[in-house]
């Protein structure tokens, strides 16, 4: 990615249930633990009901004005709908990370970096799923984001994961760690 990291603006998007908001929380927490200003803003309302959901994240060296991300540097798209919706919004020099497990997708812009991989499928193939059997493609994509940007230290990313997992789900920490590692290794 060729845009400056002093004010990192990104959006994560996908279907409800793909772990969009959770992945965003991990990223935002990593920003917080890095001692930077962060904001995390979910889409809410009817969009949440069966449709797509997304969240905006800003990690900045300065106090954050609007938490809405209008000109994202990074989009993490967990489905084709999100790819189609947000692809054009990325600023030149930015980054698109997209999961093509279900639909074949091709990069349409050459002024941004494109990372296309069947993350969910790969997670599924490697026994990285939550208790309901949903593949943890979301954490693989966070790993891919880290690999592409190193937006925080590796230790902090791990600590962010630990802090983001709610108490009643601590049993899922290890499988999430595994997913994160897989993503970083791709």
């Amino acid at each position: 990615m060729k845009t400056p990291m002093t004010n990192l603006e990104m959006r994560l998007a996908g279907y409800g249930g793909q772990g969009v908001l959770f992945a965003g929380r991990v990223i935002a927490t990593a920003g917080l633990l890095s001692g930077r200003e962060v904001s995390w803003l979910p889409s809410y309302g009817p969009e949440m009901r069966g449709g797509t959901c997304n969240c905006s994240i800003i990690i900045s060296d300065d106090p954050i004005g609007t938490p809405l991300v209008v000109d994202p540097q990074i989009i993490i798209a967990m489905n084709k709908l999100s790819f189609d919706r947000f692809n054009d919004s990325i600023v030149p020099g930015g980054l698109m990370i997209v999961d093509d497990s279900t639909f074949a997708m091709e990069a349409t812009r050459d002024d941004i970096e494109n990372i296309i991989y069947p993350y969910a499928q790969f997670a599924s193939d490697n026994d990285c799923s939550d208790e309901q059997g949903n593949p943890l493609g979301n954490l693989l994509m966070v790993g891919a984001l880290w690999k592409a940007t190193q937006f925080c230290s590796e230790d902090i990313l791990d600590e962010a994961l630990v802090q983001s997992i709610p108490e009643r789900k601590t049993a899922l920490l290890e499988v999430n760690r595994k997913a994160l590692a897989l993503g970083k290794g791709l």
Binding site: V38, P42, G65, T66
Partner: protein
């Protein structure tokens, strides 16, 4: 005396941070009713109140909830309710009674767009409802206008303290953006409910130790009601003199003063910086309370200040602008930048309006 240490920052939603901060401010009584975008607040309370021996009741309606608040406040409790715009409108009856019976309480409004069912997206369309009087009759509420999750957490404690000091309801005028977003927040220290003010007028039963007392807003005789109203408005004057609060951002040498509160002030602040980069000396006054309105801060920028014009930024069709107009009273030009429908102002668009107003004032000055 050592100040209690604040905890390390954690990432929290505004709706949850304000709820936790209320508990830390000694609030052990909450009544609510579901409405988006404030549901996380009630959900948080339903989980936390039993853990701290507190009271949580999901009421049958907003009117039910606010009247439970009325009963609890009359019984001397530090009590909270929350809702979003249409729900707060329903609470109006009870808020009027709270004000009329001199009962402290805090009402959180996570605003959404209206009128009518409108949208669940953020808005600042309840400025009139909050600052003029959210209900029938002559009265006011203290109205806090946080613009970050941290301020939501900090202001709810202030609101409880001031509500107790002046014996009146206080409103936290927030919105869906601040309620839904997560930001790092350092939660305020924990206050023991036993350390909250105990009111001798509270209806706890006489216990055979005092005469029966009543909490009542009925004033059947005209002279009696007028005297009560006069007394209350004298107190409002004291509040206006003492409790105005505003953040002054780059106003020292500013030609154009942006006035914005809450979520829209976040964007307006970025716009001020953009305008400065473009060579316009811009600044911002951000009311921390919108009632009482920071008249003195604004006035100081006109008399003895450098202000040549004002730009209000609101997520409404222009409501706070009327308070600015009242204060400025024709002395300087005022422009207003408004977005509604859940749309949030963008820094670039505001900055352009700052530059435009600057050009107009420069021409006018020739």
């Amino acid at each position: 005396m050592t100040q209690p240490q604040r905890e390390a920052k954690r990432l929290m939603k505004g709706n949850e941070a304000v709820a936790e901060a209320a508990i830390r401010a000694g609030c052990r009584t909450y009544f609510g009713y579901p409405i988006t975008p404030q549901n996380e607040l009630a959900a948080y309370m339903s989980k936390r109140m039993p853990q701290v021996d507190g009271v949580f009741v999901q009421a049958e309606s907003e009117t039910g909830a606010i009247n439970m608040v009325y009963g609890a406040a009359a019984a001397g409790a530090r009590v909270l309710t929350s809702s979003s715009s249409p729900g707060v409108a329903l609470k109006a009856e009870g808020i009027s009674y709270l004000a009329a019976a001199d009962l402290p309480s805090v009402i959180i409004n996570i605003q959404r767009g209206g009128p009518g069912l409108g949208t669940i997206q953020p808005s600042q369309g309840d400025y009139f409802m909050s600052t003029k009087a959210p209900g029938h009759g002559d009265f006011k509420c203290l109205v806090y206008a946080p613009s970050t999750v941290q301020e939501m957490a900090d202001m709810v404690g202030d609101a409880f303290e001031k509500a107790d000091e002046y014996l009146m309801p206080a409103i936290i005028l927030s919105d869906g953006l601040l309620g839904q977003m997560m930001e790092p927040v350092a939660l305020p220290p924990i206050k023991d409910p036993a350390d909250c003010p105990q009111h001798d007028w509270a209806l706890t039963g006489t216990r055979g130790k005092r005469a029966p007392q009543e909490v009542n807003s009925l004033r059947l005789y005209p002279e009696q009601l007028e005297a009560t109203n006069n007394e209350r408005y004298a107190m409002y004057d004291r509040i206006k003199a003492k409790e105005q609060q505003a953040e002054m951002y780059r106003t020292d040498d500013a030609d154009i003063i942006v006035v914005a509160y809450g979520a829209s002030a976040r964007t307006a602040k970025s716009a001020v910086d953009l305008a400065r980069d473009a060579g316009v000396r811009a600044g911002m006054v951000r009311p921390l309370l919108v009632w009482p309105f920071p008249d003195d801060a604004l006035d100081s920028l006109i008399t003895g200040g450098t202000a040549k014009g004002f730009l209000t930024v609101e997520m409404s069709m222009g409501q706070m602008v009327e308070d600015v107009q009242l204060l400025v009273n024709g002395r300087l030009p005022i422009d207003s930048f408004n977005r509604t429908g859940g749309l949030v102002p963008e820094p670039k668009a505001i900055a352009e309006r700052i530059e435009k107003l600057y050009k107009q004032t420069a021409e006018g000055g020739n």
